[in-house]
Symmetry: C2
Subunit: 490 residues, 2 copies
């Protein structure tokens, strides 16, 4: 297979696919819309999971596991929820196959379920049905639970990591005695997602609220973090929902308060998914391949020996072993690639393609000079570095790469937030510059829908730190009190 | 809810259910056969996952993720495989619901799948279909991949953790250039499972091979670890399969060897599941509740203050904080329960029920005497222990509990391996003593089947360390060269 990657300039979409496939991150499976996450991709996802899981636990959440299947009737209980998910769900109708006598395996029609089961697209309904049994009094609250799981949404157009029929995610589901507590939780988790995106993924995000059109089906308010990809399109990287008492009412979950009064329970839910892999790839990578932020890189440093004979290699290996031990002592993950079946040039290109943040090459002359060659993946800058103090140098370099990657993405993002004051300007910006367009909107779903139909741009969010500013809607000309961020999005 | 637990003597099965429910480990969901794993239960499963995952990675395996759904046609490709799983699988036939116009949510018959999808009961077929694209040459081998996933088998009789329609597990799927390598891998993973069972779960296991009747559907050889529960019934705690070239042939996966010749790839697969939770509970717990081996306990030490006033509590808390810091420094997980809403007696009973290995109680008099009260969960022995050196005392105590639990289970297990030399003796032992019965068997599936039908006992395994010994089959009287282990089993 050719390792050549289509350039971003030539075809951004193909560039993305090339990286996913050629860096061995994922591939399409034989099942429509479902992907295989390959070891290279899964290792990054595991690092993400570990970091997020710790963040959740540090804020008092526990993990649990709820059923994959949801009875169809549960779905119908929250009207807007079912409307949001019913048209794209996998339905289990039978529980047995049989041999038809001619050697064909067919569905056994005698094994039809009385009630169809839906493969969960999200778990609010099955979880709130469960919480009903767990909550009687304010003493049982709050419930702060997270689940790592697979979910299925029957998307018609799929793209690896970005939009797949089955994907992996975490979904938090919390229950509270007051609206205020539930809102605080919703916001707390949004900030955790933003912290993760910025400080681990190295992807700057805008924290905001969705317009009513873009809200989660069943939520009173949806908060989101929005990132910008290198082609100027936005990507929603995580959402946190204030569900009010909608699901408590749908599943009749009440509690007795301190005052002895019965009330419905307040809820939040929040999730991020393997879509974050798409954000990581598209925010940072270049025409040579993937670039992984050091804090999420399964291998942070790869060491390649350049040698002529066995004796040469033995000397290099002795030094590398000692260096590796020191680096591992600092928690750095190191791979020494001394395979004799591949040449150094091949290895260099391969680790570049796969995004390993730092490559160290060491040859006979380096040993004599007590130096090594250090190449950083993000800028491709190579330097000859003394062996003395190399461990500290590498640790600082990893930190520097992490920071540089974030700053580069931030600069790009900030350059791509542009104000538009007329619909013509808006459309021109969308086509010529893309990115986020900050514009006045009259606050109606109708206007939002019209703009979407005409330009494919949606309101990504109303930023949390928005300033109030009098203006007129770019589309309707009606009065507006604040700008919102539009963009074309993944 | 009453925290009273049915005694093992009164009703072992109810005792088990009581512990699962009352220690908040899991509960039945609204979906037939599917369970909700509650935070207390899931926290133990997470510890198991972490330990196993490290063992897999230390032996060269990587994690990946394959689709939840398997096209029906894949199933049919390996004849014995489909026969083994077809009668108990969830079948997805549609991908959309709709509103029927009368407010009812119904399956949209226009959204019928061309080919039905099976919710994976195990992933050999989808994985080997994928491996076909990954393997061309011996250089692509071995492939050593593990997946953490949910699977579904439509069991008609379910029991929490032991047998559920959906369960969580890991499944390893490896591909090799030679039969020998695949067999070595199969055996390596069996020994890893045994190591985990004995040194972490504190459950002694017998390593053996299954008789042909009990083999995995599609395997040439199934290895297993068999544990004994306190009621004398056996529990299969893990299996590792040598699949030969069956799946490679079914999915046409060939490779070019070093000699340039084409051959089918050799395979192994191996798995353990949330069933291990059942083993943990049934092997160790008592009539007061759960007993968790310290190495898998989410909370290893709980500290309960016994105080009269705020001043008392402040002094105790100051000491506890300092003790906690020292214990955490040694990697011990500690919980300080200073809730003022519950009395110490309630807390003691609750942590006993939930199986926390060590409880420390500390009151005003303890502070004066520079002592604490330490209670170990397994033996319920309480001791007054000096504060000086308490951290080291606790660490040794946790190790001692882990060892004692294993030794106790081992002694019980070893007392319950009994030889039977006639069918009458066999049946009497089964009814009166239970446990493993070591008996001669003529090696035929027919005899095994007859014994199963008449006694409900199955051949649990042919131990790996079996001695050859001439004898006659207890059932048929035919010649036999070795004893095998029978038992009634979960």
């Amino acid at each position: 297979m050719s390792k050549e990657i289509t350039s971003r300039a030539a075809d951004y979409s193909q560039w993305y696919n090339d990286i996913v496939i050629k860096a061995d991150l994922a591939e399409h499976s034989a099942v429509r819309g479902c992907m295989v996450i390959k070891p290279n991709g899964y290792a990054i996802w595991e690092k993400m999971q570990a970091v997020l899981d710790k963040m959740f636990k540090d804020t008092g959440h526990s993990n649990a596991y709820f059923p994959l299947f949801i009875p169809k009737s549960f779905f119908s209980k929250e009207a807007s929820h079912v409307e949001g998910f019913a048209t794209e769900c996998a339905v289990v109708t039978h529980y047995r196959l049989k041999n038809d006598g001619n050697g064909n395996i067919v569905v056994d029609e005698t094994a039809k379920l009385e009630e169809e089961l839906i493969v969960r697209p999200t778990s609010e309904t099955i979880i709130w049905n469960t919480y009903k049994g767990w909550i009687q009094s304010y003493r049982d609250l709050p419930i702060l639970i997270n689940q790592w799981a697979n979910v299925v949404r029957w998307e018609m157009r799929t793209r690896l990591f970005l939009r797949t029929a089955e994907f992996l995610w975490q979904e938090g589901h919390t229950a509270h005695a007051t609206a205020q507590e539930a809102i605080e939780e919703t916001e707390r988790m949004l900030h955790i997602y933003a912290d993760f995106a910025e400080n681990w993924l190295a992807v700057p995000v805008i924290r905001g609220r969705k317009s009513p059109n873009e809200r989660f089906a069943g939520a009173l308010d949806t908060y989101c973090i929005e990132a910008l990809m290198q082609d100027g399109k936005a990507l929603q990287a995580g959402t946190s929902h204030f569900l009010g008492q909608n699901f408590a009412k749908a599943f009749d979950v009440k509690f007795t308060g301190k005052d002895g009064k019965l009330d419905y329970v307040w809820a939040s839910s929040w999730g991020v998914s393997t879509r974050l892999m798409g954000a990581l790839i598209m925010a940072h990578s270049d025409d040579s391949g993937l670039i992984i932020p050091p804090k999420l890189a399964p291998i942070q440093v790869v060491i390649v020996p350049i040698y002529k004979g066995e004796e040469d290699l033995a000397k290099i290996t002795a030094y590398v072993n000692e260096l590796t031990m020191r680096l591992k002592g600092f928690g750095v993950s190191v791979k020494y690639d001394d395979r004799d079946t591949q040449r150094p040039g091949f290895k260099f290109a391969d680790y570049e393609l796969k995004g390993v943040p730092v490559r160290i090459a060491i040859g006979g002359r380096d040993l004599e000079n007590k130096t090594v060659e250090v190449a950083r993946r993000d800028t491709k800058v190579k330097q000859t570095v003394p062996q003395e103090g190399l461990d500290i140098y590498i640790i600082k370099l990893l930190e520097d790469i992490q920071t540089s990657m974030f700053n580069k993405a931030l600069a790009y993002r900030d350059e791509h937030i542009t104000e538009a004051n007329s619909y013509d300007e808006f459309k021109q910006l969308l086509d010529e510059k893309a990115g986020f367009i900050s514009a006045h909107w009259d606050g109606t779903p109708e206007t939002e829908q019209k703009i979407k139909e005409e330009t494919k741009a949606t309101i990504r969010c109303i930023p949390l730190d928005n300033k109030l500013e009098d203006g007129v809607c770019i589309y309707s000309g009606k009065a507006s009190t604040q700008r919102v961020l539009f963009a074309r999005a993944y």
